[in-house]
Subunit: 354 residues, 2 copies
């Protein structure tokens, strides 16, 4: 190489370093904005929860109108469980103020009434935003669902996922030998169960068994990477060379990347589904709820002109709308119920046409 | 209906009004956050532009790594034009501080070098966020591209779209008679051209002819709706009944909703593509740019361990990487050029595995 092109390489490298520093600063702005958003929206979410508490089946109706990427995972039996027993729902950014955590971590917290499926009143699924040297994303830990006898909608998937996670925890701390994990009886049990169940459509509740779209990453591993990155960035800023960590140390967890981690994943793509719920359905829940009313009047021109406060057409409306919610709520019930409230008149907004 | 159920209806209606008020307040928080984001990111975007100005082909390389939903619209000829002539690119939220506008409106502003395709140095495509009584979304106006003779990559689509938009402007102001629009010779010319071109893949530049995924909505029409909504909201807050606007007045623009507005749309789905560019590619441009280097070393294990500041392996790297960029930059050129700079060593991050 000529001297001139050496200089050029160094110039281009300098630009590359500038971009790395900028990327880090963009990240910081994003974190600041996420905290600001959380603070500004918190009182509104609180008020929304108070209003929702007075609207029967609110969350069932929201999940009933989920975007297609989520809806495809909601089976008729899930829908029935939501309609009859889903009482509260909340998204919590539980690491928003934790300097070692990430504002991108969140949990989906479902509150259920007493029901025939499981004993749990609350099922909370946590997703941690973590990174390795060459990956970043959401990881989770299987949540134990205390299914009632013969009522497991996932046919053993969540139990098997939970059992494997517990068995892994009993391995020596810091175990990075993947073959030891694969030798666990719980590993084979889960892999077999997943293979068996591939024919049938998984219940939405299998999401509680989700681990990762790649592999589990611990808080310790992620923390080390963050620290190294911060140190390297400081060096880049000072114009110093960054020493490459010993590759054995850096890659100890990645050495058998070829392994198919998804062999024991009960809900492939669960992170994408969770993100859609947390970032779209949760903030826009009112919009999704209202769609139940908007779509009902789509083939009834008179109703397009009914104001949200116009009670004149009430008597015409609510028989139709009741049918809809009742159909949902009564799914699987033996006799009709008369406890469902009449629905409000349709909103003026129709669903976005795009 | 019984008196008891009447009361119930009123209660449910009250909850519905509460949700409407909350929706409005969520919207306000979103606007506030958009302004805050704009203010915090502006200096970073300015610095990024300064760094990018020193990196040849930066934006061509970013668009070359576009997400699939965008990439599918970038034809080889578009890629060539970007590689050789795309000089600057910017997303501008031009209504961010306009109380009558929307922070969701934005423009895509492309700066080009002197080239053989068109005379324009700047092509700016504006998207306005507007609403009607039952739709909201982005609308745009066709941008005139001054194609050089025989070089129109859209084979007349942008010209025909622009001609129709101009012809519509010559109709009496406030014309809402769709049949008059359809009787314009420019209407048939465009519809025919779109039908003709359906066999071939449209150039990305056809995006400059985009109007709407539904129909064009003027600032006046959108402004009226916003005002009515604000007034209605104020009434709802005071617990007053909202009077429904006269349906003739409300729906005058929508009376022939059955009409297929997409008959004259040169880039169906253009709003979705623009949103991806503005909300994903623009903020994450550095990430997309770096992917060019990350993917090159994906089958070279040694390179995974090269730090961004480690210049040791430089001589091994850059021949490979030069080939890549040169292939892109030289596409269609008759003789090889030696002006391309050597590329920086690969970044440590590989592409997200998910």
């Amino acid at each position: 190489m000529t001297e001139a092109s050496d200089t050029l390489v160094e110039e281009v490298q300098a630009r590359f370093d500038d971009l790395t520093i900028l990327e880090y600063e963009f990240d910081n702005v994003e974190i600041e904005l996420a905290r600001k958003a959380n603070a500004l929206n918190a009182p509104l979410y609180k008020r929304r929860a108070e209003v929702i508490a007075k609207i029967p089946h609110f969350w069932a109706l929201v999940f009933g109108r989920a975007p297609p990427e989520v809806e495809t995972y909601i089976q008729p039996s899930d829908e029935k469980a939501f309609a009859l027993y889903l009482d509260t729902f909340e998204v919590i950014h539980f690491e928003i103020d934790d300097p070692k955590g990430s504002p991108r971590s969140f949990s989906l917290k479902f509150g259920f009434k007493e029901n025939e499926y499981f004993k749990d009143k609350v099922l909370e699924k946590k997703f941690w935003f973590r990174k390795t040297s060459d990956w970043e994303g959401l990881v989770s830990e299987p949540v134990k669902i205390h299914w009632k006898k013969g009522q497991d909608m996932t046919f053993g998937l969540t139990d098997a996922a939970y059992a494997l996670a517990q068995a892994k925890k009993r391995l020596p701390p810091g175990n990075t030998d993947k073959s030891k994990e694969r030798a666990l009886p719980e590993y084979k049990a889960l892999a077999d169960k997943i293979e068996e169940s591939e024919e049938s459509s998984a219940s939405f509740f299998a999401l509680f068994g989700f681990v990762s779209s790649w592999r589990y990453v611990s808080a310790e591993e992620s923390g080390k990477i963050r620290q190294t990155e911060a140190e390297n960035l400081a060096k880049v800023k000072r114009g110093e060379l960054v020493e490459e960590p010993d590759s054995d140390e850096d890659n100890e967890n990645d050495e058998d990347d070829d392994h198919d981690y998804q062999e024991t994943e009960v809900f492939p793509g669960g992170d994408e589904v969770a993100i859609l719920i947390a970032e779209d359905m949760w903030p826009s829940a009112i919009k999704y709820y209202k769609r139940n009313h908007d779509d009902d009047d789509s083939d009834d021109d008179d109703m397009d002109d009914v104001s949200v406060n116009d009670r004149a057409n009430e008597n015409d409306d609510d028989s139709d709308e009741e049918l809809d919610i009742r159909a949902l709520v009564n799914k699987g019930r033996k006799e009709p119920t008369s406890n469902s409230p009449p629905m409000p008149p349709p909103a003026r907004k129709k669903q976005r046409k795009a």
